[in-house]
């Protein structure tokens, strides 16, 4: 397994290089010229040229790409072009709220959806199963924005159960006061698609011959579900979760925006709006690295779940 991990880590290098190249080309093609934002209301050619020189945009494309390579190698992306603060400190300040918000949403949603999915899969074809499927389909057809707007209006404003918005410096206060409503709405948004997906994973496993054999052997239903079906059904579930984990970093844009949570989602949008390439570069590269790491972890977890899986 060690050799496999080393091989996969080495494979990450050309992948990252490809991501860098793609990002660099895309930004230079459609990213916009930040000097026109920084120059303010009135500008002249000299000012624009000075700004471009200070940002390093007057260098050749090759030289700019080399700087990018160096930044990735050192994971030091310099300073933000829009507010001149170190990119590392900007991201460090924002990653906590994002991971807290999306982490809790993912945790609650995963636990609930797997539990509910296994139950409705067990009673597949029943009225309960059909009702859950119908509710999930209906819920999925409603935009996330509607849940957020309606939830904030009714649960926070009209009923007063939660604050309308906010975020503090204390983790405990955030957890108790500010997180519950956005997490609740995030879970509502993600529960239906997760539940449907996981249900189909469980149903597919339950239709396999080994389940019938287990029943024929006289194993109890809980044992069949938990020991046999769950283990096999977890492979696509793990894949889905592992694929989602890197995006915890990106946060949940709409929730962050509506609840004034200082997360990454808002930073990403601001960076794109202001053509803030250092911030865009940093976030993209971190997401790419995390995606590759979690892909690798998923493969290792497959092996732990199912020893038949061979890592080659």
């Amino acid at each position: 397994m060690f050799a496999y991990i080393i091989r996969r880590v080495l494979q990450m290098i050309p992948t990252i290089f490809g991501v860098m190249l793609l990002l660099f080309i895309l930004f230079n093609w459609v990213g916009g010229d930040p000097s026109y934002i920084l120059a303010g209301k009135s500008m002249n050619a000299t000012t624009l040229a000075n700004i471009r020189a200070q940002l390093g945009l007057d260098k050749s494309q090759f030289a700019q790409f080399l700087i990018f390579v160096k930044q990735v190698a050192t994971l030091n992306f310099g300073i933000s072009w829009s507010n001149q603060q170190p990119v590392s400190s900007i991201l460090a300040a924002r990653v906590g709220p994002s991971v807290t918000l999306t982490g809790f949403i993912m945790l609650v949603s995963t636990v609930l959806s797997i539990s509910m999915a296994s139950l409705v899969a067990y009673v597949r074809g029943s009225l309960t199963d059909r009702m859950v499927t119908l509710i999930c389909t209906t819920a999925m057809s409603v935009s996330a924005l509607v849940y957020i707007i309606a939830g904030q209006f009714w649960l926070a404003h009209k009923l007063g159960w939660f604050p309308v918005l906010g975020w503090g410096d204390s983790f405990a206060k955030n957890l108790v006061t500010y997180l519950p409503l956005p997490v609740l709405l995030g879970v509502i948004v993600s529960l239906a698609p997760d539940l449907r997906f996981y249900r189909s994973c469980f149903v597919e496993e339950m239709n396999h011959d080994y389940v019938r054999t287990a029943r024929a052997k006289g194993l109890s239903e809980p044992k069949i579900m938990l020991k046999h079906v769950m283990r096999n059904a977890l492979i696509p579930v793990v894949t889905s979760i592992m694929m989602s984990l890197p995006y915890l970093l990106v946060g949940a844009l709409l929730l962050e925006t509506f609840f004034a949570i200082p997360g990454m989602g808002r930073e990403v949008i601001m960076a794109v709006d202001k053509s803030d390439f250092p911030v865009i570069k940093a976030i993209t590269i971190y997401i790419a690295i995390l995606t590759m790491i979690f892909n690798l972890l998923a493969d290792i977890v497959y092996k732990l779940i199912d020893p038949r899986v061979q890592l080659k």
Binding site: G32, D33, P34, Y36, I37, L38, A39, G40, K41, S42, M43, N44, T46, T47, N50, I51, A53, Q54, S80, S82, N83, Q84, Q85, I90, A93, R94, I149, Q152, F153, A156, H157, G160, P163, V164, L165, G166, W167, T257, F258, F259, A260, P262, R266, E267, M270, D273, K274, S275
Partner: protein, 592 residues
């Protein structure tokens, strides 16, 4: 614990400085911006949000009377208003003694007094080529010897120690500015937050990150900054004694303000917490839930918050259900104009020929401005009829410069000047070439609303319109490179004087703020003459003539001026919106 710390800090400050620190650190004002700030170096910022913080930390030489309307300049850190030479070229300021900067490690543990050299340094920073100040246009070419000093610096840092005739100190407390040309607006310009005094040693000690280290002599200091998220200001313990002693204006609310605030030492509020809330619903709900103390009324909430007169939507009062709660409502017209420009260098919509003028006029006549004011602005805007908006020196309320909405006449005009309809029913140019106009636009929902009305206007004229959709900075770049045909913009007053607006069509500003690339010798001559005159009837005559040229040549389609509605909670005392000063936190109190 925290209260104790605050009290100790305040007491210490009073004992040490003998100043008038009276802010109650338990009073916390909660407000929100709807877009992120960029930083707090006065020389480097241009956005309203950063400026709103900067104006509370730094002190310009002169400022505005809080209550006076029309707005009136008053001394800030100076003993009196500056003496101005008869030719309007030499401005001399005498600083008050005993004004101190907020404490900073750069001062080596000593109290640092504000001196004339601080202003000289701060103004020179706007000239510095390495700073690329967004407001450099206010100082470039302005001061005697300034251009030479900038040229000598090249791409390097300005030599701040070199003598500069145009910006010099006569003694420790006297600053003298000498202009190359007569200009009577310099006091307005110098009252802008970007002209607040910075301390050279603080700037040099934090050269790598001046945006995050604002240290000034103003009523507040920056206690905490989470970029794009939160800013916390705390009362500056070193702030000089400043007592609320404004005379009331004719505004009815002034009597109540005077009653609540007269004689109080400013600032009263110890802490200001500023959040960034970009969405409109949470802003509105947060205000209703008292999570915000002062807030604008977001566009979607206007119908609920206000009772709008259907016959005259500009007349609006607060919904009685909110009025009963004691919520305070204030409204005023922004000092801005919105307009859509034609690129006068463009081969289709630009040029001086009669048929090009007819095309521009027809498009202006086909745009249903009253409909957009009703539907998009929800009545909270008034039509623009003059390049200078109401409340700004030089405005003429009797001038009706906007083209009258009349699609039938517009079509007749096009018919007359050879824009015939082709076999497909759409018009072609007089030379027989296809006629299609590209309109630049953003991609937000609000842009799409505007585009529907533009589509309607062009359809009514049987002119093809296409959309050039882009991010603001990309469109701005193309506009300045003269690559756009039409684009809608807004210009807000940097200072309340007409020249800040009339410069938008000055020929030498083409490729810069003159997006229309309008070059008219007569207009330029009149503009240059107007710069030599103070605000008054003589200059107004010139402005009228310039507006007539604009109406005749139609480089712009006049848009509207928005009306801002602002609410404050009942316990906010002394609150009054100022048309120029972004925030009035230092003048208000909280009595919960």
């Amino acid at each position: 614990m925290r209260k104790g710390q605050f009290a100790l800090a305040a007491l210490t400050a009073i004992l040490i400085s003998g100043n008038g620190f009276a802010a109650d650190m338990n009073k916390v004002l909660h407000v929100a911006f709807n877009a992120p700030e960029t930083g707090f170096d006065p020389a480097k910022i241009s956005d309203q949000y950063s400026s709103s913080i900067v104006e509370n930390i730094f002190d310009p030489l002169i400022t505005y009377d809080y209550l006076a309307r029309p707005v009136k300049l008053i001394p800030n850190t100076t003993e009196a208003m500056p003496t101005i030479s008869k030719d309007g070229k030499v401005y001399t300021f005498h600083l008050k003694h005993g004004i101190y900067f907020a404490d900073d490690p750069a001062f080596g543990g000593k109290k640092r007094e504000l001196v004339a050299e601080d202003y000289a340094y701060s103004i020179k920073r706007l000239l510095d080529p390495t700073i690329n100040s967004p407001y450099s246009f206010l100082v470039n070419g302005r001061f005697v010897g300034g251009d030479e000093l900038v040229a000598k610096a090249g791409k390097n840092t300005l030599d701040y120690n070199a003598p500069l005739e145009g910006i010099k100190t006569l003694d420790k407390y006297t600053l003298q500015l000498t202009l190359k040309e007569t200009n009577f607006n310099m006091t307005y310009i110098l009252s802008m937050p970007v002209f607040g005094a910075v301390a050279r040693e603080v700037i040099e000690a934090n050269a790598a990150n001046t945006m995050a280290h604002p240290v000034g002599t103003g009523p507040y200091l920056l206690k905490e900054w989470k970029p794009g998220t939160k800013m916390v200001l705390e009362a500056n313990p070193n702030y000089r004694k400043d007592v609320f002693n404004f005379a009331p204006s004719k505004d009815a609310i002034d009597a109540g303000i005077i009653k609540a605030m007269k004689g109080k030492t400013l600032p009263c509020i110890g802490r200001v917490e500023v959040s960034i809330i970009e969405e409109e619903q949470p802003t509105w709900l947060a205000f209703l839930e008292k999570q915000l103390d002062i807030s604008g009324i977001p566009q979607p909430a206007l119908q609920e918050a206000l009772v709008i007169d259907p016959k005259d939507p500009t007349k609006a009062t607060l919904n009685p259900k909110y009025a009963k709660m004691g919520i305070q409502h204030q409204r005023y017209k922004l000092q801005e104009v919105t307009y859509t420009y034609f690129n006068m260098d463009d081969s289709v919509v630009g040029g001086d020929s009669k048929e090009k003028l007819a095309l521009r006029r027809a498009i202006a006549m086909a745009f249903p401005r009253s409909e957009t004011i009703a539907a998009i602005r929800r009545g909270q805007a008034v039509p623009v009829n003059y390049m200078i908006p109401e409340g700004v020196g030089g405005h003429n309320p009797n001038f009706k410069g906007a083209a009258e909405y009349d699609p039938a006449k517009a079509n007749a005009l096009l018919d007359k000047f050879g824009y015939k309809k082709g076999a497909d029913g759409w018009r072609v140019q007089p030379n027989g070439k296809p006629l299609s106009i590209e309109y630049a636009t953003g991609s937000a929902a609000i842009d799409k609303q505007w585009n529907e009305y533009w589509q309607k206007a062009f359809d009514s004229l049987k002119i093809h319109v296409t959309w050039k959709v882009g991010k603001w900075n990309e469109l701005d770049k193309e506009a300045r490179q003269s690559k756009l045909q039409m684009w809608g913009l807004a210009w807000g007053a940097d200072y309340p004087d007409g020249d800040n607006f009339m410069m938008l069509l000055y020929g030498k500003n083409a490729g810069d703020v003159n997006y229309a690339n309008f070059k008219n010798a007569e207009y330029d001559k009149l503009f240059e003459s107007s710069l030599k005159l103070p605000d008054g009837p003589e200059r107004n005559k010139l402005y009228d003539q310039m507006n007539k040229i604009v109406v005749a040549q139609q480089p712009w389609i006049f848009g509207d001026t928005r009306v801002r509605n602002t609410l404050a909670q009942p316990y906010v005392k002394g609150f009054k919106i100022h048309p120029i000063v972004n925030t009035t936190w230092r003048y208000i109190d909280l009595q919960k």
